[in-house]
């Protein structure tokens, strides 16, 4: 089912790439310089790494029927901690460790609100979404903290043939895929997402699972925040990771994971993240006027989502096909 749903995102991706090639014929070119791979495609991967990473965490949160709006703010906090620590004379490894520890704490907080206090995820994480940037501002004292630390810079701007950032994101994606699909974790996460009460009664540790995914999402956001600040060697509490939660959520949804929880697809999320990042790049390369870039993005995203909807698909393909109803749409129809 999910495989079929990836058709349209993949077509969209191909379409965007073709569009880019038309505008900039050198778009697909890759060259190796000093052992690094360069080219527009590589840039897309590098710039998309934070979004992809956050989307991986978001996928699991969404699978449990939740959502995490605070990831952008958490990313900003991580960058702020990393940079201020280094600016104050600290070393890079400690900066990373410190930043990620705080992110784990923030994730614990989100998870606590959602799984223990039972607050609606959208509200619970909205708290940190707004308060978090304030916290980052306090850390940076309202300034953009610039640093120059070659080690720290590796995270976001370094290369081992490919950008280190994308290698990290892909490694996390792969690790999560193996961890959840080789063990029973994936199934339990989906069960909690589809029917929390049935899962609880079946003895699933729904609370622990829900709590854990928020911690993981915050951790991903933290690493993404380090990538972003490292890439520009600066912490900008106001703009780092701004709207990245939206991009991540869109990536997950385009990838075919339903916001209603349950079945998730990490491959889908990868494709979704690529679509989103390519779209962002396209906006620049084809010179969409800045005042309508958001509109342009929105139109593309909504088109992809519409095409994925079983109902629209049926209407598009006429009545030729048999009325195979996906379970979710059936529920809607019956309700």
């Amino acid at each position: 089912m999910i495989r079929g749903r990836l058709l349209w995102p993949l077509i969209a991706l191909a379409g965007l790439i073709v569009l880019n090639v038309v505008f900039t014929p050198s778009f697909l070119e890759l060259r190796i310089q000093d052992g690094h791979l360069y080219g527009s495609l590589v840039d897309i991967l590098r710039n998309g790494a934070p979004t992809l990473l956050i989307a991986v965490g978001m996928t699991l949160v969404i699978a449990t029927r939740g959502i995490d709006l605070s990831v952008g703010a958490v990313a900003a906090i991580a960058g702020a901690i990393g940079c201020t620590w280094i600016a104050d004379g600290g070393d890079a490894p400690t900066a990373v460790l410190l930043a990620l520890s705080v992110c784990i704490l923030l994730g614990l907080w989100n998870g606590f609100l959602v799984s223990v206090l039972g607050i609606q995820p959208i509200i619970a994480t909205l708290v940190l979404m707004t308060a978090g940037r304030g916290g980052a501002m306090l850390l940076t004292e309202g300034q953009i903290v610039t640093i120059s630390n070659p080690t720290y810079r590796q995270i976001g701007a370094g290369f081992v043939i490919l950008p280190i950032a994308i290698l990290i994101s892909l490694a996390v994606l792969l690790a999560v895929a193996l961890l959840t699909r080789r063990t029973a974790l994936g199934m339990l996460i989906e069960a909690v997402g589809v029917n929390p009460e049935a899962s609880r009664l079946a003895g699933v540790r729904s609370r622990t699972i829900t709590w854990t995914v928020y911690v993981f999402a915050a951790l991903c956001a933290g690493v993404a925040g380090l990538m972003i600040s490292s890439n520009v060697s600066a912490a900008d509490a106001n703009n780092a990771g701004l709207w990245i939660e939206m991009d991540a959520i869109l990536a997950v949804v385009i990838g075919g994971t339903s916001l209603a929880g349950g079945r998730y697809s990490l491959t889908g999320t990868l494709v979704g993240a690529l679509v989103i990042q390519t779209l962002t790049t396209t906006v620049y390369t084809i010179g969409v006027p800045t005042n309508i870039t958001l509109l342009f993005k929105a139109v593309v995203v909504i088109t992809v989502c519409l095409l994925q909807s079983p109902r629209v698909a049926r209407a598009v393909s006429g009545r030729r096909k048999s009325p195979t109803l996906a379970p979710r749409s059936q529920k809607v129809a019956a309700g």
Binding site: R182, A202, P323
Partner: protein, 515 residues
């Protein structure tokens, strides 16, 4: 609309050659079905025969790939759920699909709210809801939240909702599956009234008694095909069952009482002392022994489910102690009891049982997997073996472990949930309405499985609104009334009559006290 002469002898609904396919698999093949005004027409068939699918084809939830539907001689094709209702077809689906977070009154009148100056008139709405509920003898607070009521009450609310509009066709898909005999009587009373007014009623039930009591005509489906249309007087029970199964009904010799053969062990598996929860059930004492089947009887709202939920840790008790195998449980939820071997199969399969979007396999091994923890997945081969065993043992259809749970028929979902707990080999199995929505053949099968497991030493707490069933399987029957445990019957003292009088006797006392 209630004037049957307008339609004369023509069927009000005439479905011809209906075929419904799901991903190329035919759930219904070339089925004809007619419904006349002023009749109660029972649609019969095994679990998965296609009854609900035929209903959904009529109401537009599923679109047939072939066939025509005539409503009052006009071809119709509904594409949205509201359309059938507006055309006069009122439906109570098998799975209660109301809004759990809304009030009872809001659920009943959704889309038909009385308005004053454009705004919804809350008071009028509650009054109207109360009045409609009174028609089927239901008296609950219309302002209460729906989810605070038991599944049986929710089912009655769903039925009330169907009475809001003056329909010419009323479809009831297993409306009585969780009702007690009194509620069933109330329901049948109103069904007869509506029938006499000329409403055509489509009725689905696995209770043959009920079918013969109320049906004027029957249509039997088997495996998605039409077997035939019959008049009850021309088709006796045996013939009906054979028509449904497609073979002689040999397996129907139901489990006879067999407590004599069973010697319940002396060791109590579970001991509850003064266990209670305010507003749910008054403190009670209960012991369940190894190899013993304890039945729980009582009227709707007497606290059967509430008691089960305390024993299983689904709800937390606020007084009393609970011991399993001699060890006091400080329950922190179902997990601690599952770890001690207490399994609880809830009556509310949709909200508390099935995980719709996952496969039958995942649903079946869910409890086993949860007990093992996420890091130790059940090996693929073990899982396949478990699933295959129970698909066969309980005759789950389709026999496909990869089928999505949400696509199974109601009765088959129920079997999977039962299997979910059976595979954990519990010490004590608490079954709340385990045969709800299960067809006659499978019901006997399940009762047999329960008896076998008890013979192997498992303790069972068996809850059912169907007294005959409780009496048949139980070694001991605990009677509840008004959230109190009022009696315990055992051995030769158990019969439908004795249990009934235990319930009634106390009811009389209650009335005497009240007046």
């Amino acid at each position: 609309m209630t004037d049957s002469s307008a339609t004369g002898d023509n069927p009000v609904v005439d479905m011809r050659g209906i075929t419904v396919e799901f991903s190329g698999v035919k759930a219904l093949a070339d089925v004809d079905f007619r419904l006349f005004p002023g009749e109660v027409h029972a649609l019969m068939g095994e679990n998965g025969a296609g009854k609900s699918t035929l209903i959904k084809a009529l109401t537009g939830v599923h679109r047939p790939t072939a066939g025509t539907i005539l409503l009052k001689d006009e071809p119709v094709e509904f594409t949205a759920p509201g359309q059938a209702r507006n055309a006069g077809i009122s439906t109570v689906y098998q799975e209660v699909n109301l809004c759990p977070n809304l009030s009872v009154a809001e659920n009943i009148l959704l889309g038909h709210e009385p308005r004053r100056l454009g705004a919804i008139d809350g008071r009028a709405m509650r009054a109207r809801a109360t009045e409609l509920m009174a028609r089927i003898g239901l008296s609950i607070d219309p302002a209460s939240v729906l989810s605070s009521h038991s599944i049986a009450v929710q089912q009655l609310v769903a039925i009330t909702r169907a009475l809001v509009v003056d329909a010419c066709v009323l479809v009831l898909d297993e409306p009585t599956s969780s009702l007690d005999s009194d509620e069933v009587e109330e329901l049948f009373r109103i069904v007869r009234v509506l029938r006499d007014e000329g409403v055509a009623i489509l009725f689905v039930s696995h209770f043959l008694d009920q079918v013969y009591e109320i049906a004027d005509r029957m249509t039997v489906l088997r495996n998605g095909t039409l077997v035939g249309e019959y008049l009850p007087e021309n088709l006796d029970r045996m013939a009906l069952v054979s028509a449904m199964l497609g073979r002689e009904a040999g397996i129907l010799d139901e489990v006879e009482r067999r407590s004599e053969e069973r010697a319940p062990g002396s060791a109590p598996v579970l001991v509850a002392q003064g266990l209670g929860r305010t507003g749910a059930i008054e403190p009670f004492d209960l012991e369940i022994h190894e190899g013993e089947v304890v039945g729980l009887a009582g009227l709707l709202g007497s606290g059967r489910t509430e008691l089960a939920r305390l024993l299983s840790g689904a709800d937390r008790a606020d007084t009393g102690t609970l011991m399993v195998d001699g060890e006091t449980i400080r329950s922190r939820g179902p997990r601690s009891l599952i770890a001690k071997g207490v399994a609880f199969c809830s009556e509310d399969r949709k909200a508390e049982g099935v995980v719709e979007d996952l496969s039958v396999r995942a649903n079946l091994i869910l409890a086993t997997q949860a007990a093992r923890g996420w890091a130790r997945p059940v090996a693929r081969r073990t899982a396949e073996a478990m699933v295959a065993e129970y698909i066969e043992r309980l005759d789950i259809r389709p026999a496909d472990p990869d089928a999505l749970m949400g696509n199974l028929s109601g009765g088959n979902q129920q079997k999977v949930l039962l299997a979910r707990w059976l595979v954990t080999r519990p010490r004590l199995l608490i079954l709340d309405e385990p045969t709800r929505g299960i067809d006659v053949g499978a019901k006997a099968q399940i009762q047999k499985v329960v008896a076998e497991l008890a013979a192997e030493g498992m303790a069972v707490l068996f809850i059912s609104a169907e007294l005959e069933e409780v009496v048949r399987v139980s070694d001991r029957v605990v009677v509840l009334r008004d959230r109190h445990k009022v009696a315990e019957l055992s051995g030769a003292g158990i019969s439908v009559n004795s249990v009934m009088s235990a319930i009634a006797e106390n009811a009389h006392n209650g009335v005497a006290v009240a007046s």
